[in-house]
């Protein structure tokens, strides 16, 4: 089975130059936790997720793990201040600019392996031979596909 048969084709994307606040609103409206980020040439250059935005709101010296724990600190109140600053930033400043990319004709096994290997990813962006984005495949998509698969189809997966 190939990635393109399992992926979600109905795509909602963000543009690198959009403000974070607008993109967050779109994510909320469509009940999505991540969006692929496209440049002017419609090439996928990153992924923005609620996690990547929160990572920018938490101070870098904490998010980077330099301060392993801050259970000794009270709630200092800077999260809201940082949130108010981050929503006006451009998406390209908060996106994960090294998304997992898989080719549309990649096998399901290879896609699942890429998602779960060392640099864990929850999503992979599926691209065609021209490197244009054609879909998204999540760990959930693979599980759903496996659940609906008939027993005698197993060789295909």
């Amino acid at each position: 089975m190939l990635a393109e048969s399992v992926m979600t084709k109905d795509l909602i994307a963000a543009h690198v130059g959009e403000p974070v606040g607008d993109v967050l609103q779109r994510m909320r409206k469509h009940k999505l936790r991540m969006l692929p980020v496209l440049n002017d040439k419609k090439i996928a250059v990153g992924v923005v997720s609620t996690f990547s935005i929160l990572e920018k709101i938490v101070p870098s010296y904490i998010a980077s793990g330099d301060l392993e724990q801050v259970s000794f600190a009270p709630d200092i109140g800077f999260l809201k201040t940082h949130y108010d600053q981050v929503i006006y930033k451009k998406i390209e400043e908060v996106m994960d600019d090294a998304p997992l990319l898989v080719k549309h004709d990649e096998s399901l096994l290879s896609t699942a392996a890429a998602l779960t290997s060392l640099d864990r990813h929850e999503y992979a962006l599926v691209i065609d031979d021209d490197e244009s984005l054609v879909g998204i495949i999540s760990s959930g998509d693979i599980l759903d596909y496996l659940r609906n698969m008939k027993v005698n189809d197993k060789n295909d997966a």
Binding site: S60, Y61, D66, P74
Partner: protein, 449 residues
Amino acid sequence: MHNSAHIIHSSMPFGLDATWVAVSILLIIYAVIMVEKFNRAVLSLLGAGLMILCGVLNQQQAVAGIDFNTIGLLTGMMVIVAISQKTGMFQYVAIKAAKVVKGEPWGILVMLSLVTAVFSALLDNVTTVLLIAPVTLLITDALAVRPYPYLFALILASNIGGTSTLIGDPPNIMIGSAAHLSFYDFLTNLMPIIPVIFIVVITVIWLMFGSDLKTTDEKKELIMQFDEGAAIKDVPLLRKSLFVLFAVISGFTAAHALHLEPATIAMFGAALLLLLQTWGEPLHDKDHAYEAIMAEVEWTTIFFFVGLFIIVTGVEHTGVIGMLAEKTLTLTGGNFAATTAAILWVSAIASALIDNIPFVATMIPLIQSMAPTFGGQEALIPLWWALALGACLGGNGSLIGASANLIVAGFAQRAGHPIVFLSFMKHAFALMILTILISHAYLYLRYLS
């Protein structure tokens, strides 16, 4: 050692001159290290390899040139620090220090600088700033004050503190080992001037930034709500770490009387803490913990030292360093006070601009070969203090002067408050010169007048 030059000439391939080959290897390797495009450990090992491949040294001579006392002391302390830092004691002390001054922004700057200086004296500067800088940023965020003055003070305090002991800064470890100066010698000769330097530097920082550091009572109250107790992650490990640290530092102080080298004490302390750390745990967990700690040892630094010792030994074998020493003595007219001053100032300026470790590695044999002029190794002692003060305090002269400076600059960058190279240097270089003036006066009054 220097009369071996003619022996080397006979074994050189292609009729090359050993002196030129050795000096070229040293200069090329040092120049490429300065460019900072390649890993310095890789470069020093390449240089060391070339010294042997080109026939300047044979392998036996190269290995004999490695100062295993420095290597052992560095590695042992790295293991002890790697375990101790997991306890949260650095964060505990930093928060406690901020609360002692009731959240006053200026008081916090002084206390964090003091904590940094003390930790840098007893442990290593890089680990100290690696652990204190994030807490500092958290505190300045809580106070809503500009972090730059704090980070600036942290850098200076770390290098000043590191100057005061045998184990505070790698140049001191190398000097102590080569000149047979004990932990106690450093305490009685360098430590006395450090508080003076610290107070002067903090006063100047107050003049520079004091009026900027204002906050509200509400924000000070936030600092008082920090719970330093929650920073301690592992109380049993904290007890074991403190016990070993205390034992090791006591051991350093008594090392001379016990006829022990500091490396023996540090390595024994490291082994003891490794054993205590996982006492009572299953073998599999122990092995895992040992491997994790060993992975935290900065092997890059250790191999950098190994390579460097071999490169310097190669150059030393050709007699060039002895020649350079003679030239220096000609320039200073063989005057001891002038030689001391020259070593202090040249070391300070050089260490502000280049890595002070290769610089000190080269200066050590150079100073040693001045012994006949000044009446033996014993008479050289003030020169060693001049080298230590110059090389360690010189690190404050620019952002690239010491590894700790770059670590703090990295934090500042990530936190969105980048430290600009030139604006840092504008203040820091002047302050460094001030600390060298104080050191010069101290050396003159104590050893030369």
